[in-house]
């Protein structure tokens, strides 16, 4: 019995897999290497201080980090209650057929490109928010604010969140539901005391994943966030900053400065630094979400 023959498929498969891994690592290293100059120039103030003026070679991005976090948090805070109740409704309350219809519609929304959301934001949401602000006696220049971007993002993130929540609930085996209801527990009690605790890893993972998506969204946020630099509020002014224009990492990167920076080593480096921060945070959240969700499948056997 002679030894194995040459397996060309294995060769190709290995090469492609290595290529894939290399791409991910390559992007990371590329960002790292490219942003070294900015880190050296600014040091820790790159993240901690608030002064971004590329013409004067100031690259302190605290305001953008604040903007990114604020916008994503608003989105999550708004989307989670709706997404959670929709998921509970679809997985625990309504019938199988309605559930499929609901699922289909939600998935439809998940496929809408971000530029279309941006369009809706620009032509509708912005004006509605402006009217809202004026009704609340808030002085605003236009409807382009952090809050507007947050609301738009909430709509964008809702379908993903809702579907993942639903998956988490579904992955808890029906035997638990049957046992609980069989004991006489109501639907609410079953959901909160039996299903929810078991679905928790899946729910948390869904949250992290959606938060990561919200952090990374560019086009829609770009169009309605106002793109005003260096808006970093003092402690008391946080709420006011939300109804003011702002800037996120993604809106900065998607804007004119990226093209301007071509050729200017330090400027490009700073932008790559911003991208690095985004990369690390978002990919980090994605991987953590992965780990959390894997706990789900190991503990509950559907």
């Amino acid at each position: 019995m002679r030894a194995r023959q040459f397996d060309w498929i294995r060769m190709v498969a290995i090469v492609f897999s290595v290529l894939t891994v290399a791409t991910v690592c390559g992007i990371f290293l590329f960002l790292l290497a490219g942003s070294v100059e900015a880190w050296r120039h600014e040091g820790f103030s790159f993240l901690a201080k608030n002064h971004w003026a590329y013409r004067k070679q100031f690259f302190e991005a605290a305001a953008m980090i604040y903007g990114t976090a604020a916008v994503a948090l608003i989105a999550i805070v708004l989307a989670v209650p709706i997404g959670l109740s929709t998921a509970i409704f679809s997985s625990e309350i309504c019938g199988e057929r309605s559930r499929l219809v609901l699922k289909f519609l939600v998935e439809l929304l998940a496929g809408v490109p971000s530029v279309v959301y941006g369009l809706l934001g620009v032509l509708f949401l912005r004006n509605w928010m402006q009217t809202l602000y004026e009704k609340g006696n808030l002085e605003v220049y236009s409807g382009d604010t952090l809050l507007t971007a947050g609301v738009l993002l909430a709509i964008m993130v809702l379908p993903t969140l809702s579907t993942l929540f639903d998956d988490a609930f579904r992955s808890v085996g029906s035997k638990y539901r049957d046992a609980a209801r069989g004991l006489g527990l109501t639907r609410a009690e079953t959901t909160f005391q039996v299903i929810l605790p078991q679905a928790l890893p899946g729910l948390v993972g869904a949250l992290l994943l959606s938060f990561g998506r919200a952090l990374g969204e560019t086009i829609a946020v770009f169009l309605v966030v106002g793109r005003a630099d260096n808006r970093f509020p003092k402690l008391g002014g946080v709420l006011h900053s939300l109804v003011d224009a702002g800037q996120t990492i993604t809106s900065k990167l998607g804007g004119a400065e990226t093209n301007i920076a071509v050729g200017d080593k330090l400027h490009t480096s700073a932008l790559l630094g911003l991208a690095l921060v985004l990369f690390v945070v978002v990919v980090g959240l994605t991987l953590i979400a992965d780990v959390v969700r894997s706990r789900l499948s190991s503990e509950t056997v559907a």
Binding site: S17, T218, V283
Partner: protein
């Protein structure tokens, strides 16, 4: 008291679902309602005139199709290779999880990062200037996880006994891959590709610095320094200057067409996905 809590619970959840449904229908309704009037055969077949205010979106559509076709050509073989490696040549669950982690990480990378890295790499470092190929490559990398995971999932649905029986007969791994894995899992590859392309068609960020311009390009000539037009970027640029009412209808029309393309791709995948779901349940 318990009954009351239960009632309130059901009510609140229903309310949430109702709001969600309302949002969905509003979004879709607005786009379709506003955009439908702009659609005509001329819209599809004519070029843009007067910087978007007149004419149709023919070359934007062509450009988008070129970009996603390139992405497919690159991503499908890669996904097939990675998938086969994952199923046939990786033996420990830990290594498989590591591969999954890489795919998830790749999937999570924000699209603007692709755009920026593409700019720095293809345009600056390689000196390619704006090129459809760079855009296609970036999109391919972006959708690779989607295609791969769909393929892997379909392979995992093949009953273990079937694979064991194939090994038991003495078939070699390339033969098992070609005679059993591929034929039975091809539907997963196709589904994944369609879903990936649906996503790629709508993306602006990866291509806006590396592959597309707003006006002036028709068919690409060559690979380097040959940008294309694209639907999402077209809408993006128009949206930034949205105060001109004559533009508005064209914007909506473009948005509807883009939506139709994206939805169309996802919907073609639907019967296939239902069939896979059925087969998985039967097994």
């Amino acid at each position: 008291m318990r009954r009351l809590t239960d009632r309130i619970f059901t009510l609140l959840c229903g309310l949430g679902a109702f709001i969600a449904l309302g949002i969905i229908l509003t979004v879709l309704g607005l786009v379709v309602f506003r955009g439908a009037p702009a659609i005509s055969l001329r819209f599809f077949t004519e070029q843009v005139r007067s910087v978007g205010a007149e004419g149709g979106i023919f070359y934007q559509l062509v450009g988008t199709l070129i970009l996603i076709a390139t992405a497919a050509v690159i991503a499908v073989p890669l996904a097939a290779g990675v998938g086969i490696y994952h199923q046939l040549y990786v033996h420990t669950p830990r290594s498989r999880r590591a591969m999954d982690a890489v795919l998830h990480a790749l999937n999570g990378i924000p699209s603007i990062v692709f755009g920026l890295v593409g700019l720095a790499f293809f345009v600056q470092m390689l000196g390619m200037k704006k090129s459809w190929l760079a855009g296609g490559i970036l999109l391919a990398v972006m959708i690779l996880p989607t295609v791969t995971v769909a393929f892997i999932e379909r392979m995992r649905a093949i009953p273990k006994v079937t694979i064991e029986a194939a090994y038991g007969l003495g078939l070699r791994r390339p033969q098992i891959a070609l005679s059993i894995l591929f034929p039975q899992a091809v539907s997963g590859l196709v589904t994944g590709t369609l879903l990936g392309l649906a996503r790629a068609a709508g993306e602006t960020a990866p291509i806006m610095f590396t592959a597309v311009i707003f006006a002036g390009a028709t068919m690409p000539k060559g690979v380097v320094d040959s940008p294309v037009l694209a639907l999402p970027y077209h809408i993006f640029v128009l949206a930034q200057d949205s105060f001109d009412p004559s533009m508005t209808q064209k914007m909506w029309g473009s948005a509807v067409v883009l939506l139709m393309l994206v939805m169309g791709l996802s919907l073609i995948a639907l019967p296939l996905r239902l069939k896979i779901h059925e087969e998985a349940r039967r097994v």
